[in-house]
Amino acid sequence: MLDGLLMFRDQDSSMKRRLFVSCLSGAALLMSFLAAPALAESGHHEKRPEAHEWSFAGALGRFDRAQLRRGFKVYKEVCSTCHSVKLLAFRNLSQPGGPEFSEKEVVELAASYKVRDGPNDSGEYFERPARPSDRVPPPFANEQAARAAMSGAYPPDMSVLVKARGYGRGFPTFLFDAIPGFSYQEHGVDYVASLLKGYSEPPHDMKIPDGQYYNAYMAGNRIGMPPPLSDGAVTYDDGAPQTVDQYARDVTAFMMWVAEPHLEARKRIGLGVISFLIVFAGLLYFTKRKIWSNVAH
């Protein structure tokens, strides 16, 4: 575009020309700065999250049921000790588009949790086994209780956590992230999965305070969460590898489903909607062309 702008055809007035050139050189200077990718992120030490293969990425993406079930197991046996998923109800686990446990499995699973209910007829609060309609009870009663137990740290709720995390892709990559065929929406899951695998010994020149850990992907490289996963910690019964890498990807996929339980319906219906609209717009185009065919315009 700049070349087009710099083409200068009207040279009948030197006044006009000076005016144009001076303004244009300012703009050209501005644009050349903007085009310099060297301006992108600097000063941060955290690593750029690793790109993973996600079954739910892209226009045709669908969740992998087995992965969601494994991910739920990792959540239940590891994460749920500290992290709540307040927006997840047990019934969601048997809904279409998720891990799709059977209703019987969900009833049994819910019954293994205790929830507070009440007041009853005598005005007392009481505990009862959870029902599928209940939300998954949190590990701590409130934020203060969590902080008291976790030496000041507050493990965030995991309901929409993968949508609440991301990383800058930089210019011009971010422009392509919206385009069909190139679209990329997996910032949050790539970040969380990378972070779960990102623990290591700190570089020798970095001091990590007590109660904190070095993590290559965390902002500032310091994280309050102890390394949650270790090889073999969770037993899979479907033969999937019992490694940190597998656990991290499985539990992150599960978190994506928790954050976006209707993702499959959205993408399925979206394909129908867009296909219809393309055909409809095509018909409108030909109708328009017919109507205008006798008008010079």
């Binding site: 644009m31 069909p180 209707h262 867009i274 185009y285 109507i291 010079a296």
Partner: protein, 412 residues
């Protein structure tokens, strides 16, 4: 338009109604018989696209309001409940959130078209000013709506923007407290923002009605900028000609809108808005929605808070003065070689301001934002008046028909 209606009531009831309330003939004259210049290009379909988007936002918004709770401890979860438990709630919410972006995209193209073809010039000054009013109410509506999900960006955007008013001496502080209903953004703020977010779209509808009325008095501009001279030869009836063309354009626009809604629904959002509002934690970078970024860049470019606020408001208001800043008798940029170049520089600078608004206000970004902001205003107050004086326009076609016959600018 002037003169007698071209509508003849056919049935007995229609004749009865016509003598009492000529609403059918009014609709007929406005949307069926209304003469449209036959040389309009697709840039002229954005008025219809915007009307469609306004209705789409109101319809999705009303249904969302049935499920939303404007209270600080419940708002965030009520939006999530829409996403999870309300039938089609995820579709409504993503359509509404992305609808706002598509609405602004369309309005920017609509405005850019008006600027290129000089649609603000005599006799369309009032039409143009009403458009600026609509744009300002849209900005207010968009900002208020962004606060409602009560995420971190919602809360901090509300805090930053309402704080701007405190820049005005003496009255600033009280105005801010009056706006937010207290000393800090809290439940009274959220509740009134919800009420106002529901109100303003209907004000937009009212101003749009005036905008369309003014349009139908003056008639549409066209790519040549030459007024219609022979209605019979140079115009076509709105229906079916413009309705079909607009319908096709809306269809194409909807494909993009549906892609955004169904496949990249969070692309234009900020991840921090999925964290519930917390007055005790400030996000590292507070950024507004993309459609406010150029104005945000101008605000931050100026070191003095009050002057920054004034510059930001002026950057929008100055558009209302366009008919008096650019007095070149030639309307269309197609016949103004020098204007055309400055026009594209102006568009580039505006986009650059948008980019800079998303960057931290420091170092080279800040200086670039200062240069670009300065240029933005120079375009209006120096370049356009000087062009009026010194530019030698190319010859303008005698009439729309002459230009169509020459086949020159129809697809500019």
């Amino acid at each position: 338009m002037d003169g007698h209606s071209q509508y003849t009531p056919k049935s007995g009831f229609a004749r009865w109604l016509e003598r009492r309330l000529p609403i059918v003939s009014f609709m007929y004259d406005s949307f069926v018989a209304y003469p449209t210049p036959k040389n309009l290009n697709y840039m002229w379909t954005f008025g219809a696209i915007l009307s469609f988007m306004l209705v789409a936002q109101i319809v999705t918004g009303i249904v969302l309001a049935m499920h939303y709770t404007g209270e600080t401890t419940l708002a965030f979860n009520s939006v999530e409940s829409i996403m999870r438990d309300v039938n089609w709630g995820w579709a409504l919410r993503y359509a509404h959130a992305n609808g706002a972006s598509m609405f602004f995209l369309a309005v920017y193209i609509h405005m850019a078209r008006g600027m290129y073809y000089g649609s603000y010039k005599e006799p369309r000054e009032v039409l143009w000013i009403l458009g600026v009013v609509i744009f300002m109410v849209m900005i207010a509506t968009g900002f208020l709506g962004y606060v409602l999900p009560w995420g971190q960006m919602s809360f901090w955007a509300a805090t930053v923007i309402t704080n701007l008013f405190s820049a005005f001496p003496v009255v600033g502080g009280p105005i801010r407290e009056w706006l937010i209903g207290g000393y800090s953004v809290d439940n009274p703020t959220l509740n009134r923002f919800f009420a106002l977010h529901y109100l303003l779209p209907f004000i937009i509808v009212a101003v749009v009605a005036l905008h369309v009325w003014a349009l139908h008095v003056t008639g549409q501009n066209n790519p040549t900028g030459v007024e219609v001279k022979d209605v019979k030869k140079e115009t076509v009836p709105f229906t079916p000609f413009a309705t079909m063309k607009d319908g096709f354009a809306i269809g194409v626009f909807l494909v993009i809108y549906a892609w955004m809604t169904f496949f990249v629904p969070n692309y234009l959002g900020h991840p921090d808005n999925y964290i519930e509002a917390n007055p005790l934690v400030t996000p590292p970078h507070i950024v507004p929605e993309w459609y406010f970024l150029p104005f945000y860049a101008i605000l931050r470019a100026i070191p003095n808070k009050l002057l920054g606020v004034i510059a930001m408001f002026l950057s929008i208001l100055i558009m209302a003065a366009l008919p008096w800043l650019d007095k070149s008798p030639v309307k269309s940029g197609s016949y103004r070689p020098l204007f055309r170049k400055f026009y594209w520089v102006f568009i580039a600078v505006s986009i650059a301001l948008g980019y800079l608004g998303a960057q931290p206000a420091e170092g080279v970004y800040l200086w670039l934002a200062r240069i670009a902001s300065l240029y933005y205003f120079l375009h209006f107050v120096v370049i356009l008046p000087l062009l009026t004086k010194y530019e030698k326009p190319e010859p303008v076609p005698e009439s729309i028909d002459a230009s169509v016959a020459a086949g020159s600018v129809t697809h500019a």
